[in-house]
Symmetry: C2
């Protein structure tokens, strides 16, 4: 069960490159991650800040989730401008600040990188554009490929999860984390299989919900960050559908009174320790709303992943599954996800 599935093929990149079924991370990416780890190990890192905006912030939040759950190192997530303006006092030379922006041009995040670096923090920028302002502002770069035909291990999911699990292993060594890294080259194939598995359900969701003007999302644990992305970036930004990402644990402390037969909910029933929170909230909404959609993370395809590592892979796989539900809304509403009314059209 717990065998090392991926064979280490490049010791030079700090043992990060593992091959699974002919798939392995490119050495230049593995070397970037290895450099970050070397820098982390050379400092007395006392806390970790994840700083970005919107969907990029939500993606980084999985790092905070696992660090808080599995290590004693304090970690925090900030939207970039709040980070700069609050100016948390514990940011200093013993701080690791990980920043992220897809294009690497998000002004607030670029400014946050410079701000953190001036305070002496170790800064790491994650982006698809290695030459971007964000990557220039930070000491270290972790670059990923995007829609260039590369495998997912070189894309945003493979690169980020490799970084996070190598970082976990540096902060609180555990053989499990190295096993996650060794099995991550599976992620591309798993994403494809899960897309196939959920395609019909997502299409039905789009068809049924095409007239809705508000759709709530709900989740807990790591998956609350998926709900946040789905709400902010997919529903509100791209589809102009009103929404709010409700934490399943908070649902009964206010939001649940909004539930009615005609109020739609998309509930992510997570895998992992907070699943009981989702189950309780789901039981309730299924009783009082006729419009409940469930994405059950336990039903995902995890082929090639050790049983005890599934909770780490779930968040890595859920994003592309949830994306299908937004694609389906776009298809059935005739409102492409690429349409904007303000972005790219004006300064703000």
């Amino acid at each position: 069960m717990k065998q090392e599935q991926g064979t280490i093929i490049e010791e030079a990149a700090g043992g990060i490159i593992h091959e699974v079924q002919g798939t392995a991370m490119k050495p230049e990416h593995a070397n970037q991650i290895a450099n970050v780890l070397e820098a982390v190990k050379s400092r007395d890192i006392q806390n970790v800040y994840f700083v970005a905006c919107g969907g990029s912030m939500a993606s980084l939040s999985f790092g905070e989730y696992f660090i808080s759950k599995e290590t004693e190192v304090p970690s925090f997530v900030y939207t970039a401008n709040e980070f700069i303006h609050r100016n948390p006092k514990s940011v200093g030379e013993n701080t690791l600040v990980i920043l992220r922006s897809h294009s690497g041009t998000t002004p607030e995040t670029v400014e946050a990188a410079s701000f953190a670096r001036e305070k002496g923090a170790l800064t790491v920028s994650i982006s698809m554009e290695a030459e971007s302002p964000l990557c220039q502002a930070a000491e270290h770069i972790v670059h990923y490929n995007y829609k260039d035909g590369s495998d997912a291990i070189d894309g945003e999911v493979g690169i980020f999860y490799t970084l996070i699990f190598e970082l976990l292993n540096a902060l609180a060594p555990n053989e499990k984390y190295k096993r996650v890294v060794s099995q991550l080259p599976n992620v591309g194939e798993l994403i494809q299989k899960n897309i196939e598995q959920f395609a019909d359900a997502a299409n039905e969701f789009g068809k049924k919900n095409k007239r809705e003007h508000i759709i709530y999302t709900m989740a807990s644990g790591a998956y609350i960050h998926h709900a946040y992305s789905f709400t902010s970036c997919l529903l509100m930004e791209m589809l102009w559908i009103h929404s709010n990402a409700i934490h399943s644990g908070e649902f009964f402390h206010g939001p649940f009174e909004i539930t009615d037969y005609d109020v739609p909910f998309l509930v992510v029933k997570g895998a992992g320790t907070s699943r009981p929170l989702d189950e309780r909230a789901l039981d309730f909404v299924q009783k009082f709303s006729d419009k409940v959609e469930v994405v059950d993370i336990e039903t995902l395809n995890y082929e090639g992943v050790d049983e005890d590592l599934k909770e780490y892979f779930g968040p890595a796989l859920a994003g592309s599954v949830l994306r299908l539900y937004a694609d389906a809304l776009a298809e059935h509403t005739g409102h492409p996800l690429s349409v904007r009314r303000y972005m790219w059209k004006m300064d703000y």
Copy 2:
């Protein structure tokens, strides 16, 4: 300007009792806070967790805001069930866990108190009911009075802010924090003055928005927690109006595309370092929505508060101002804030 306004009248309660214009905290409350501080000082507190649900969680969050901004002590906010199920690894004997429930009966919070105490953490429960399960579960009690004619210094605002600023002074001593405590007996009169000042504006808001089915709230810094409470407890729970508390710094990274001429926003224009974030978001919504309401925290009455302490008093005063806006919606919709469809009517 920076004179000690409140005269210390009870050294026995750790110098916490200050009298301003005849108003001073009751010795039994001051002694409870003094006991917490003594316990904090007798331990090597390495981190602070604020744990509660819904509006109580939002209220505790002001503690995390100021601790993160002004000290190097890591502090975190968790909804109670997420706290229990995530089980953050850094909770232990050097942890202070502050819990809060108005009635002291919220089951998840009671369980979180026992959970934290079993891990050896120093636990403090805040409630209006000193005999409640929550208060029985924790080592220390901080009790406040509620609607019994007591002054606000013995109510939830006075008691909580005294606790937090005494705690700040214990974690990172600064004469400013003692000045806050000495001026806090002003808070009751200030709340009254601000209620009078904002009554008409709130009434107009209720009148104008009585047909709305969705109202967004927006804020940043400390005030995002007021927005969260307003959204979850006042709009969604009590008024059955759809909502989402948007962080002003996140607005342009997704949510802003939902803005349209007929989409209502209630924006808290904060006082303090993150005000520029609110200003930018406000400029945008005022350009593209015809339904924008602003509560400007800088325009509050801060009489008797030192200029450099206003940023600490703003969050203490904003709650009762915002409540007026919900009262006005209740008045004009004919939907009392006390109405529920699920709570108190069934098990869930």
